[in-house]
Assembly symmetry: C2
Homo-oligomer: 380 residues x 2
């Protein structure tokens, strides 16, 4: 079946659809050259696709037909739960963002409250954009914790206790009556940076999100690598100090307890009072020596993890996202210094550590990317 003639036709249909989607608009002759198919085949397949409503055809001078992707109807929604915020975006399937909103939100709260808040935000955005709820085709949902790829529920119940045992995708889907895809916020950030940001076009990328916590994700051959139980890329819980502080994951001295935003906030509280990560970064940019120091220290701890990553995966590019990434060189230079000292030299030379380009919108944009191009699936 997988190798029958109909499968071949299906393959070629998909090939043409993909080529059209990537290039935007093409004539049939260009399509034939790019795909290697004969003009005759292209002709028949294009007609099929037009009848199926998957592409649109417009005259373009002479016999030329311009084939373009069908204007996708409907909208998609991205929802991103951070440790302390909730951000929702509404976008056309063509990637244009129609409306976006973020509110402070404590993810420690129970799941139902979180999902209700998200639902309210979505409804607000729909109204603001003048779009009916029935237009929503899919929702991408990001959560700051490991997701079991099989069941769709949290892989570790200790990280987001309020969400233990909940199937967030099913629950939100039930409320909205729309298919919901759930994923780790770091996975979504990686997807976003690879689609529009600092890792655009790269197929082998490591991404670290340093916000309140520390998450990470790996793209191998352009696909999210999830590992056996969806815990791949959990760099935030790599052990840096065996005798360190207890971590919410249940272990001790995780990277997150040393370089997570929460730890940095705690460190400067005696001298600077209660601040946010963003404020901390701002102060550091302003020259505050204490803030600079805690960020540099965090960078050194992160460097240990990135060095491990280099020795294991030897990536060519590591993108740093999350609120702390805005510290830029204040954070990245120490990372590089430690990587140069701890990673095997050839791997240290190969790696390029850069700041993400999408800032705090990475998660929600990734959620959009996840449902806009649904074929970005796990490698496993």
């Amino acid at each position: 079946m997988a190798n029958s003639l109909t499968a071949l036709r299906e393959t070629n249909r998909r090939l043409i659809t993909e080529t059209v989607r990537k290039s935007g608009a093409l004539t049939q002759a260009q399509l034939a050259r790019q795909t290697g198919l004969s003009p005759a085949t292209v002709s028949t397949i294009v007609r099929e696709l037009r009848d199926a409503g998957l592409v649109e055809i417009s005259q373009a001078g002479g016999r030329r037909h311009l084939i373009s992707p069908a204007r996708e109807t409907g909208v998609v929604v991205g929802v991103d739960f951070g440790h302390s915020h909730l951000r929702v975006a509404l976008a056309e399937r063509s990637h244009r963002v129609l409306a976006e909103e973020a509110i402070p939100f404590d993810v420690g709260a129970r799941a139902p409250e979180g999902l209700s808040a998200a639902e309210r935000l979505i409804i607000g955005l729909l109204e603001r954009a003048g779009v009916s709820g029935t237009e929503i085709k899919a929702v991408g949902l990001g959560l700051p914790g490991p997701i079991d790829p099989q069941t769709g529920i949290m892989g570790s119940s200790t990280i987001l206790p309020g969400w233990a045992g909940v199937d967030p995708a099913a629950e939100l889907g039930r409320r909205l009556g729309v298919p919901v895809v759930v994923d780790n916020d770091a996975n979504l950030g990686a997807l976003a940076e690879a689609t529009w940001g600092a890792a655009k076009g790269r197929r082998e990328v490591a991404y670290m999100k340093i916000g309140t916590g520390v998450g990470a994700s790996i793209l191998i051959n352009g696909l999210l690598y999830r590992g056996a139980t969806g815990a791949a890329g959990e760099l935030g819980h790599i052990t840096i100090d065996e005798n360190g502080r207890l971590c919410r994951c249940g272990n001790r001295g995780c990277l997150e307890t040393l370089a997570g935003g929460q730890q940095l906030i705690d460190l400067v509280r005696p001298t600077h009072g209660q601040v946010t990560v963003s404020r901390l970064v701002e102060l550091a940019h302003g020259g505050d020596i204490g803030c600079r120091r805690v960020i540099a220290d965090a960078g050194r701890h992160l460097g240990v993890a990135v060095a491990s990553l280099c020795n294991i995966l030897n990536p060519g590019l590591v993108v740093i996202g999350g609120a702390l990434a805005e510290a830029g060189p204040l954070l990245i230079d120490p990372i590089m210094a430690v990587v140069g000292r701890l990673a095997i030299p050839s791997a240290a030379r190969a790696v390029n550590v850069v700041k993400g380009e999408l800032g705090e919108r990475a998660g929600v944009l990734g959620a959009l990317a996840r449902v806009q191009s649904p074929n970005v699936e796990s490698a496993l």
Copy 2:
């Protein structure tokens, strides 16, 4: 072209050839069920393959025809340089090993001497097996260090100083007049275990070789994952103790300086005199409390690295090879204990750490596997 009808036929021919090669011998009906093709298609393709000399058909009771891979002509050679040995094997392309020999050898010696020794061993094996040198189709060469996948030369000149700047594949190929494929010994060990050993049939595998040094390799989707510069999987040089001993890689406190066989030998020298890793393991199995302790300690250090590996890649299976692996549970139990303590719980639960099944032959068998099925290529 790539999607034409003839390409489809070619795909199916390849599918059948591969299925036959993997299973050894099959009837056509089994083939049809396994490939999902119809019996009619299998019938015609099998006839084509027979006419092309790619498979052999033997009667097997009733209408049954037994399809088996054509007896491939020629032989392949595997060469495995360890830190302290040189092992060479001669095999038919059908995987049957014809002759094999190992000698002690110091890899610290200069490359020309090593290659000369390998050449002499190969010639000896050819004589013993009564095979002419012209029968050699390819040579697989394993070296205990990172190989740059682009250039084929050592990625880090400090690890095998005697081999710096040498292109071992080209050099040995020149001497023998045969194509030579070079690879890291850990990569080859992983390949061997995945082909015939403890990871048979698995597509996502991490492999660690603990001999004199510590090497590692990762199979993702059945392919060797090499990373940007071929340094992926260098778990031996992950930093365990930032203030630890200097390592030959130039850094400090690498896993290898704590869990490598050389370190263990050094540790027991005061009490036990000069021993080999194998002798050390033997003594431990015999109940020697000191040897058991150093092995357990090594296991705990290895566990730190495996825990990092779990948090980054979340593998389902980790195979431990090399001489120290023969310690079995004496080594693996401490690894598991540390993994359970340091890795994120869902990743720790998912991973299964087992001893390799191929022992000291893993490297040389992997070298054979590398050239017997040349399509096992890098993922990048």
